[in-house]
Symmetry: none
Subunit: 413 residues, 2 copies
């Protein structure tokens, strides 16, 4: 493998689909006008992919870990830590991460509003963040980031913390914040710290001036935090450690940014990138090209709009999301054609006809300007079945990409 | 996966074949008239399956464990325990199961007839069973069931029993019953119990009135048991524990019923179901439909006739068995079409030209009324090679069936 190329993975979330009556039995991908993907299919190698395994319906987060080359059965830390990491609150191995709500409680810690009225000014968020972030309990440091509305991310950092603990959120109003209990002996200390944190956060929040101000406007006070979805940032071998590569994620959704950062990617911010059909595809293309031209070896680009449309059962929007991604790929290829190895695929199937993830494999195309092609002429679930990649698994994608891009050393002499 | 379906696995034993001169180079499956299977192939996804692994010739019992999702290299207890379980003698984890013969010995325990003349009335079987069943030796309980002719099933139940012991059957007349020896240190106690059992069974059997009666008719006495094929019912995670499903087997042969019960299936008895070409296909269809309509989630249907014909080198009968199965599938589909996910396959290849199991993969079709199809138009070993499933393993069948039927939880969020 003489010259190295940049490895580019483009994932359209929930891309895979089933025959759709509204489209005369075609899938949205078949119905979409995709001249660029069709050229990739014609010039590259195609296949079907069971992202986790045959018959296994992938969640998006576990699916992405597989696409990054990590076994989701042993490396999946739960959605919480990935969302937290994606929200901008950094974690490191050993940390326990939670998603968090600002909530309202009475003086007996009985929950009166699980979202504290939902309305928060940036100033209120900053004030609340400043009293929670930095709390220390029994040598464990609390990190906190207010994110959107009543939502936030919280991290416990210290020795000997484990995430196998029960929930504190009673999940309904009129009930007291629950005692956090260890669900395994090793988690005893973590549960005790969470219980102390509930009280300490309430102590620091309840008398803040902002709560008097909220009361004057009839808005419930933010005087407690509710934590959910605890997970541990486990020891994980980063992509840098595994392959010696510098990698970057270009994504709008916190979950995908978080999954990518979890395996060691940097995050490249794109102006106007969102998780919807209105994301700025042109800016994503420009940023992708910029990353390819810079010193990144691996660039992961995530498009969420396909999955949103699928969950909404919106056939037209799914087709539109695919067609816009196709145009974006054209922009990227125009200036980087001979510098990259490209994979275009999905992380799971979400048939618009059922609006939920399903176990059906997804199409995948592996392309570079200097590789063998196969007999496939169009990019679709049906055509891909005839391709030279046959059926692969999600965990095969990273070695394939990096292998063809010259980033994996020969084994043996 | 919003609506759940019933998962149905139909196995034609020894289905796979090779080009057959008698059929102008076609396989029996190619030569058979199979309109229903052809529709399944056209509407579903096809592939080839290495039931255990590439190049590995499967035994029927190990093959079925793989088809049920169990690794036969770690979960196969030997043929004995599966036959015993299939014969109707229940076993549980920790039990040691043997197949057994009634035999004739002289007063020095020298074998004079390994099958004690083969002829047994139901009354004789009952009398012999009643003296062996219930023996207790050093805290170990003996369970015994007389089955067909001189044959029976025997189970040792107690603490610390292991199956790694030598044979007691000298396999020829004129030789003394062999001393059972432990083949590993942990089996020492089991071997000692078997040796005591040989003597105790002889003591209880030799003076039975039925042996005086047999002597009067010149029939050899049934005054000993010969045990063979010991195996341990190991701890195994049942299908219920693995997937939360209720499962059932519809089969004529003890080995298949036993393998299915070993992983936790119930057995649905069908009037007229045998292991031959004369099995009642119509009744099998009716019972399958009944199970689909009841609360079973997974229904396994086994057709043995294809394998018998293959072992006999009987091309016409193999074709007939396939065609009768095809008709049976039509009956099942007629009333359950939109309620099931269906797999039709074989457990191994038995070419009629060689009459023995071979390592060639078998064709498989995965069908439901709402899935992507592929380019295959006919159900055969040759056509299946073009299908979207490509090459899978036996252990992939259960996740595929249950995944498409909505019985496996999503991994991740």
């Amino acid at each position: 493998m003489s010259t190295k190329r940049k490895a580019v993975l483009v994932v359209m979330d929930g891309l895979g689909d089933r025959p759709t009556p509204e489209l005369g039995g075609m899938t949205p991908l078949q119905a979409a006008n995709t001249p660029v993907m069709d050229i990739l299919a014609k010039e590259g190698q195609n296949g079907l992919m069971n992202v986790i395994g045959p018959g296994i319906t992938p969640g998006s987060d576990a699916a992405h870990l597989a696409l990054f080359g990590y076994d989701p059965y042993t490396n999946y830390p739960g959605r919480g830590p990935l969302e937290v990491l994606g929200s901008g609150l950094e974690t490191k191995p050993g940390d326990i991460a939670f998603r968090s709500n600002f909530a309202s409680v009475d003086k007996d810690m009985i929950v009166t509003d699980r979202r504290a009225g939902r309305v928060f000014t940036p100033e209120e968020q900053a004030a609340l963040q400043s009293v929670i972030d930095g709390i220390e309990i029994d040598g464990v440091q609390v990190r906190f980031l207010a994110t959107v509305e009543h939502r936030g991310a919280l991290v416990l950092r210290g020795e000997g913390l484990y995430a196998n603990i029960s929930d504190v959120d009673p999940h309904e109003t009129g009930k007291k914040i629950l005692e956090c209990k260890p669900l395994s002996p090793e988690s005893k200390r973590t549960a005790a710290i969470v219980n102390k944190l509930m009280i300490e956060a309430n102590r620091r929040m309840r008398d803040l001036p902002l709560n008097k101000e909220r009361a004057r406007h009839g808005i419930p006070p933010a005087n407690a935090i509710l934590l959910r979805g605890p997970g541990r940032h486990d020891e994980i071998t980063t992509l840098k450690e595994k392959y010696g590569i510098k990698s970057v994620v270009i994504a709008g959704g916190a979950l995908y940014i978080g999954a990518a950062k979890y395996v060691g990617m940097e995050h490249a911010l794109v102006e106007g990138q969102t998780g919807t059909i209105d994301t700025n595809f042109h800016n994503i293309a420009l940023k992708t090209i910029e990353c390819i031209e810079s010193d990144y070896d691996y660039i992961f680009v995530h498009i969420k709009a396909t999955d949103n449309a699928s969950h909404d059962g919106n056939v037209k929007e799914k087709i539109l999301a695919i067609e816009r991604t196709d145009k974006m790929l054209g922009e990227i290829l125009e200036s980087t054609r001979d510098k990259i190895v490209l994979v275009v695929t999905g992380d799971h199937t979400t048939p618009v006809t059922i609006g939920e993830h399903a176990c059906d494999p997804v199409p995948i195309v592996l392309w570079s300007s200097q590789m063998r092609s196969d007999c496939v002429e169009r990019y679709s679930e049906f055509d891909a079945a005839q391709g030279a990649l046959h059926t692969i698994r999600g965990m095969d994608v990273m070695p394939l990409l990096l292998g063809y891009a010259g980033h994996i050393e020969k084994l043996g002499a």
